[in-house]
C-alpha cells in the first residue's frame, strides 16, 4: 500500500507538469494582450515598456519556466516565511503578480479561499448528510413510493442546473416573499458579515441557506443514487442471507453489515466529487454573489488577467489530481480485496 501511494504520488508530478503546460499554452497562445485593458491614451512605446516589464515579450518557454519557479518555489517560501517567521531570502524575488490588481495572485486567492471553502464545504456536508439516509432507505425499500420519489428528486437534481434552481429559490424566497416575513432570505451573500452574537448568527444562517441548499441538491442527487446502487448490490449477497438466517436483528444486518460494505465505493465517490464541486460552485457563487474563488476566476477571465487565470485553473487541476489519488488510496485501504501491489 505504501509503495503504491508513493508511486502514485511520484506519478502525479509529470501529470501536473503536463496539465500546467497545457493550461499555460492555451492561455498564452491566445491573442490576448496584457495591456489591452489599459487606457488608449498610453503611447505605444510606454505600452511596449509595460509589456517588457510584465515579461510578456520573452519566449514562451522562458515565461513558462518563470511561472513554474514562481508557483512552486517562490510562493511556498513566502508563505512559509509568513507562517513561521523564518527568513528564506524571498525579499527581492518577484512574486506571481496579477495584471489587474498588481498584487500577488496567491494573496488574492488566499483572500477568496475562506468564503468558497465555507460555503462549498458546508454544502457538501449537508448534501452527504441528506443523501446517505435517502440512498439507504430507497435501496432497502426498493420500488416503494419513497424509492420512486427519491429517484425522481435525484433525476431533478441531475437535470436542473444550479443557475436555474438558484434563481428559482431567489424568486421564491427573496422576491415573492415580503422582506419582513420570517421566510424571507437574502439573495446576496454578504461575506463581510461578522458573527458576533445570536442575531448576527441568525443572519449568517439565513444567508447561507439558499447557496448551500442549491449546491447540496446536486450533491445529494449524485450520492444518493450511488448509495442506493451500492446498497442494492450488497443486499442480495449471500452473507446477508447468512446473517439473517442466524437470527441477527434486521437493524444490525442493514446498518452494520450491509451499510459498512456499501460505503466503500460511496466514500471514493465522495472524495472524487470534491474537486468538481469547486467547479460547480463557480456558477452558484455567481448567482448568489459570493466573492469566492469562482468569482475571482470570472473577473480575471473577463479582465484578461493571465497570471490569475493560469494559477486558479492550475489549482483546480491540482485538486482534481489530488482527490483522484486520495480516492484510489482510500479504496485500497477500505476494501481488503483490492491490493495494488
Amino acid at each position: 500500500m505504501f509503495t503504491f501511494t508513493l508511486r502514485r504520488l511520484i506519478l502525479t508530478i509529470p501529470t501536473l507538469l503536463f496539465i500546467s503546460f497545457v493550461i499555460f499554452m492555451i492561455v498564452k497562445l491566445s491573442p490576448s494582450d496584457p495591456t489591452g485593458n489599459l487606457p488608449l491614451t498610453i503611447p505605444p512605446e510606454v505600452r511596449e515598456q509595460i509589456r517588457e516589464a510584465l515579461g510578456a515579450n520573452d519566449t514562451l518557454l522562458v515565461q513558462y519556466g518563470r511561472w513554474l519557479e514562481q508557483f512552486f518555489w517562490i510562493e511556498p517560501r513566502v508563505y512559509l516565511e509568513r507562517t513561521f517567521g523564518w527568513d528564506l531570502g524571498t525579499e527581492g524575488e518577484i512574486r506571481l503578480l496579477s495584471y489587474q490588481t498588481r498584487s500577488p495572485v496567491m494573496d488574492l486567492i488566499m483572500q477568496r479561499m475562506p468564503q468558497t471553502l465555507w460555503v462549498v464545504g458546508v454544502a457538501y456536508l449537508v448534501g452527504i448528510a441528506i443523501a446517505l439516509p435517502i440512498g439507504v432507505i430507497s435501496a432497502y425499500r426498493q420500488y416503494s413510493v419513497f424509492d420512486q420519489v427519491g429517484t425522481f428528486v435525484s433525476m431533478v437534481g441531475f437535470s436542473v442546473p444550479p443557475f436555474f434552481s438558484g434563481v428559482v429559490v431567489i424568486v421564491i424566497f427573496s422576491v415573492l416573499i415580503s422582506t419582513d416575513s420570517v421566510f424571507w432570505l437574502p439573495s446576496v451573500y454578504d461575506t463581510t458579515h461578522q458573527v458576533t452574537d445570536w442575531e448576527s448568527f441568525k443572519y449568517q444562517f439565513r444567508q447561507m441557506i439558499m447557496p448551500v441548499m442549491v449546491l447540496a441538491l446536486q450533491i445529494t442527487a449524485q450520492i444518493s443514487r450511488f448509495t442506493r446502487a451500492s446498497m442494492l448490490d450488497n443486499l442480495n449477497q449471500d452473507y446477508v442471507r447468512t446473517a439473517r438466517a442466524k437470527g441477527v436483528r434486521e437493524r444490525t444486518v442493514v446498518l452494520l453489515h450491509v451499510l459498512r460494505n456499501s460505503m466503500i465505493p460511496v466514500v471514493t465517490v465522495i472524495a472524487l466529487g470534491i474537486p468538481s464541486i469547486f467547479g460547480g460552485a463557480i456558477i452558484t457563487e455567481q448567482v448568489f454573489k459570493v466573492n469566492g474563488l469562482g468569482q475571482l476566476l470570472i473577473i480575471a477571465i473577463q479582465g484578461g488577467d493571465v497570471p490569475t487565470v493560469q494559477t486558479l485553473t492550475f489549482i483546480f487541476a491540482i485538486l482534481i489530481v489530488l482527490f483522484n489519488l486520495i480516492a484510489d488510496v482510500l479504496y485500497g485501504i477500505l476494501d481488503p480485496r483490492i491490493r495494488y501491489d
Partner: protein, 310 residues
C-alpha cells in the same frame, strides 16, 4: 409396407407465427414499458418539434423590438410575455431552443466520434492502449469548466472575425464542449472492445483473414453500439447544460442571438420586475435535460439483454 401418409390435411394446429422481429423491436418494447423513458421521449420530441416548426406558425420575429409593449406578462398576443425591449419571449424561446439544441447535438456528435475513435483504437490496438489511456486520464484531470471559460473568452474574437459573430461562437462552443467531453465514452468503449476481442466470433473472423479495418467496422462497432447510444443521450444533456452555463456566465452567444442560457442570464437582471421571465428558459433547459436523462436511463435498460425480456 409403410403406407404413404395420406395427403389429406390433418387439422394442423394453426400456428400464427409472429413476423420475424429484429432485436430492435425488442429494444423498443422494453423502452416503451419504461414509463419515465417513454414520457421523456414524448416531451423531448415535443420540444424538438416545437422548436423546429414553431417559428413557421408563430410569425413574430424574435428580434422585433416593440418598445411600447415591454416587460409585459403573459397574454394572448405574447403567451410568455415580452422582455425589456418588447421582444416576444415565445419567439425568442423557440429560436433560442434551436441554437441550444443544435449546440447540444453537434457537440454530442463530436464528443461521440472522438470518444468512439479513441476507445476503439485503444481497445483494439494494444500498442495504442497505453498512450491513449494516459491521454484520457490527463483530460479527465483537467478542470473543465474553468478551462472552457478560458478557451471561449480567449478565442471568441478570432473566430468571430473569421466566421461571423454567430458562426464563430457556434464553432467555438461546439468544438470546446466536444473536445472536453469525450473521455467517458472512450473509457466505456475501450472496456467493451477489450472484452469483445476475446470472443470467439472475433477469433473466427480473424482466422479467415479479415483485415483490421473491416474487423472494426463489421464486428466491433456494431457490438459496442449500445453503450455509445446511451452516452449519446446523456451527452446531449451535459452539452446543453454546459452551453447554458457558459451563456449564463456571459460567455456564450452575443446578446441579440438568443439561446436558452442567454435568455435566462438576461432575465436575471429583471428579477424584481418580472420574476416569471426566468422561469421559461429555465424550465425549457430543465425539461429537456430531464427528458433526455430519463431517455438515457430507459435506453440503458432496454439495450441490456440481461434486463430486456424480463
Amino acid at each position: 409396407m409403410t403406407e404413404p401418409v395420406p395427403a389429406t390435411p390433418i387439422a394442423e394446429p394453426v400456428e400464427i407465427r409472429k413476423p420475424a422481429r429484429s432485436q430492435w423491436w425488442d429494444v423498443w418494447d422494453q423502452f416503451r414499458s419504461h414509463t419515465g423513458a417513454f414520457w421523456g421521449m414524448v416531451v423531448f420530441l415535443i420540444i424538438v418539434l416545437a422548436v423546429l416548426f414553431g417559428p413557421f406558425l408563430w410569425h413574430i420575429d424574435p428580434t422585433y423590438i416593440d418598445i411600447r409593449a415591454r416587460n409585459q406578462g403573459p397574454s394572448l398576443a405574447h403567451p410568455m410575455g415580452t422582455d425589456q425591449l418588447g421582444r416576444d419571449t415565445f419567439a425568442r424561446m423557440m429560436s433560442g431552443g434551436r441554437v441550444s439544441l443544435a449546440v447540444g447535438m453537434t457537440a454530442m456528435l463530436l464528443a461521440l466520434v472522438l470518444g468512439t475513435l479513441i476507445g476503439v483504437l485503444a481497445g483494439y490496438f494494444k500498442r495504442l492502449d497505453g498512450p491513449l489511456m494516459r491521454l484520457t486520464d490527463l483530460f479527465l484531470a483537467l478542470p473543465l469548466l474553468p478551462l472552457l471559460l478560458v478557451i471561449i473568452m480567449l478565442f471568441r474574437e478570432v473566430l468571430s472575425a473569421r466566421f461571423g459573430p454567430e458562426g464563430g461562437i457556434f464553432i467555438l462552443m461546439v468544438s470546446a464542449i466536444g473536445i472536453t467531453s469525450w473521455m467517458q465514452t472512450a473509457r466505456i468503449v475501450r472496456g467493451d472492445v477489450l472484452a469483445l476481442k476475446e470472443r470467439e466470433f472475433v477469433l473466427a473472423a480473424r482466422s479467415i483473414g479479415t483485415p483490421n479495418r473491416r474487423m472494426v467496422t463489421r464486428h466491433v462497432l456494431p457490438n459496442v453500439l449500445s453503450p455509445i447510444m446511451v452516452s449519446a443521450t446523456l451527452g446531449i444533456a451535459t452539452a446543453i447544460i454546459t452551453e447554458s452555463s457558459l451563456s449564463f456566465l456571459g460567455l456564450g452567444f452575443p446578446p441579440d442571438f438568443p439561446t436558452w442560457g442567454r435568455l435566462l442570464f438576461d432575465s436575471v437582471d429583471y428579477l424584481q420586475q418580472s420574476p416569471a421571465r426566468v422561469i421559461w428558459p429555465g424550465m425549457a433547459i430543465s425539461m429537456t435535460v430531464l427528458a433526455v436523462n430519463y431517455m438515457g436511463d430507459g435506453l440503458r435498460d432496454a439495450l441490456d439483454p440481461r434486463i430486456r425480456g424480463r
